[in-house]
């Protein structure tokens, strides 16, 4: 059992972070809180990938004469790309939130939904 915990704890902590981020995205009412949850979620996925690329006793993937074994460089490359994509999604999401705030004077989801429902009723009647 201890062996299992020691060999998997990195994955499990990244799953725990993912759960925290997912809870923030679903349960929080504030839109910026949702984006913070999304950020934590993304970082947890990065941690999962980089943990998969680690090799015991490996050195950093840079050529070195005395290196016996290198860590896997492919997850590093994928995550470099993913970090940049994650900052792009964050920027676009926050720009959308600023627009929403200009229109509704609120960044709380339930208030925005209330305003939207009221407008829909007006157009119906």
């Amino acid at each position: 059992m201890l062996d299992l915990i020691l060999s998997k704890y990195n994955y499990w902590i990244s799953i725990l972070l993912m759960m925290i981020g997912l809870y923030g995205m679903i349960a929080k009412n504030n839109l910026i809180k949702k984006i913070i949850g999304m950020n934590i979620f993304q970082v947890s996925v990065f941690l999962f990938y980089i943990s998969m690329g680690k090799v015991r006793d490996g050195t950093a993937p840079i050529h070195w004469d005395r290196a016996l074994i290198y860590d896997n460089p492919i997850p590093h490359v994928l995550i470099l790309t993913a970090i940049v994509v994650s900052i792009s999604t964050t920027a676009v999401a926050l720009a959308l939130i600023i627009r929403i705030y200009k229109n509704f004077q609120s960044i709380e989801e339930d208030q925005i939904l209330k305003v939207l429902a009221r407008e829909e009723n007006k157009t119906d009647s």
Partner: protein
Amino acid sequence: MIDIFLLMFLVIFSIYSIHTEDLLSSVIVLSAFSFVMTIVWTRLNAVDVAFTEAAVGAGVSTIIFLSALSRTKRGEEKRVTKKINIYNLFAALIVIFTGSVLVYGTIDMPAFGDIEAPAYNVLAPRFIIGSMAELGIKNFVTSILASYRGYDTLGETTVIFTAGVSVVALLRRKGGT
């Protein structure tokens, strides 16, 4: 041992960042979270990722969050409803279910740091040997990023461009430049 402490720090920071009602402190704690993440990545020998995280995660993303906060509101609205509502309970159930399915999935995975892992044995040796022999670049991450998977990086640049254009389109003032 230090790795476990760092990972615990990550969990504490993320819980605080989600839980607190002051959005400004939430963003600052998120920045600290990114900084601890940088140390974790240096510990995992992912130096290029650590660079990028320090610049982008702890730096640029905090600035973007702060500028968004300055244009909206700082505080999260106090919930007037009762403490445990059914919606949050349902969300927690979904999250726990997803987490337990994922933990079940990791039981079959190769152990942390296992050299026999399939991820290490198919493509990685090809790139590690080829980087010096074919390209003469000492940093394997650079050679994969710029040469072997160059189209991937081109796509990434397209994503940044599209994101920049859409942010400009969203925040443009009417009649202004």
